[in-house]
């Protein structure tokens, strides 16, 4: 919301200014307005993406619950009244079965019977792809923990896929160390946008709005200059 309103007020505010204007010899309000406008508009898309994917991430628990009671329940319907296996079989063989079913993918993790990512009767081997994108998009292969037979394997539904894609885009942990450093700098600049924005807003509330200062100052600029 704040970002969108910032874009809206960017337009009138920049009518008479070139992109990237920084009036360093003006009062602090004007300087901070320029810093706010410049850093804000330059980072706007990044902030929107990180903000929006952050919102999606807050729904993580809900999304997993929906999957658990939706697709996972469907995939394990015929097992729903069973109790935990008395003699669970080998995890290694469950992993091997999953790899045979999806030779192009690698196992990411195995959920044990009775945990939130599996049923009470299955090993859920979550397979991942090889690119950074497909590595996030998991595909569970469910194997009966007692017999070792793979009973089902499906792509995760779109809402889980959306969550899994949102996580790297929010945290920035997907492009090596340089991307993490860039992410940190972008975070710091975002904080600067917030602080300057807050300052300008408080200043406006106290009646010393930046518009006032800018108008006064440009009136001063336009005074006729006499040279001798």
């Amino acid at each position: 919301m704040a970002i969108v309103s910032g874009i809206v007020v960017y337009e009138p505010s920049m009518r008479k200014l070139k992109f990237g204007t920084y009036r360093r010899d003006r009062l602090r309000v004007v300087r901070w307005l320029d810093v706010h406008n410049l850093t804000g508009i330059v980072l706007v898309m990044w902030m929107l993406v990180v903000g929006f994917t952050g919102v999606i991430n807050t729904w993580a628990e809900l999304v997993i619950k929906v999957w658990q009671f939706g697709q996972l329940a469907e995939m394990t319907a015929q097992y729903k009244d069973k109790s935990l296996p008395a003699n669970p079989g080998s995890i290694e063989s469950a992993v091997q079965v999953a790899i045979r079913a999806e030779p192009a993918m690698k196992p990411a993790f195995v959920a044990f019977p009775g945990t939130i990512f599996s049923s009470k009767s299955h090993y859920a081997v979550f397979m991942r792809g090889n690119t950074p994108l497909t590595a996030k998009l998991l595909k569970p292969a469910l194997s009966d923990a007692e017999t070792g037979v793979m009973t089902d394997s499906r792509e995760l539904p779109w809402y889980v896929a959306t969550l899994l894609i949102s996580q790297p885009l929010h945290f920035g942990d997907y492009g090596g160390m340089p991307l993490k450093i860039i992410w940190a700098i972008l975070d710091i600049i975002t904080i600067a946008v917030l602080i300057t924005g807050l300052y300008l807003w408080l200043r406006r509330k106290s009646g010393l709005s930046v518009e006032r200062v800018v108008v006064d100052a440009s009136a001063a600029d336009h005074r006729p200059v006499y040279t001798s």
Partner: protein
């Protein structure tokens, strides 16, 4: 010389031309590192680094 404000009013298109370009660049940077490693990561670093360089350039330049 100080950065001169333009006294001619700009159109909306003029105001948002550079920001739009930077927005597209950001999307390229955000997505490219997801698509692959190596060169894709490098593209992402450049695309997301440019906004930072621009902030530094405009705020630090002695005009």
């Amino acid at each position: 010389m100080k950065p001169m404000p333009i006294h001619r009013r700009q159109t909306t298109t003029q105001i948002f031309a550079v920001p739009l370009l930077l927005a597209i660049l950001s999307i390229v940077g955000l997505v490219s590192a997801l698509v692959g490693d190596g060169a894709w990561d490098g593209l992402s670093w450049i695309a997301l680094g440019i906004p930072i360089v621009l902030c530094g350039y405009f705020l630090l330049k002695r005009s």
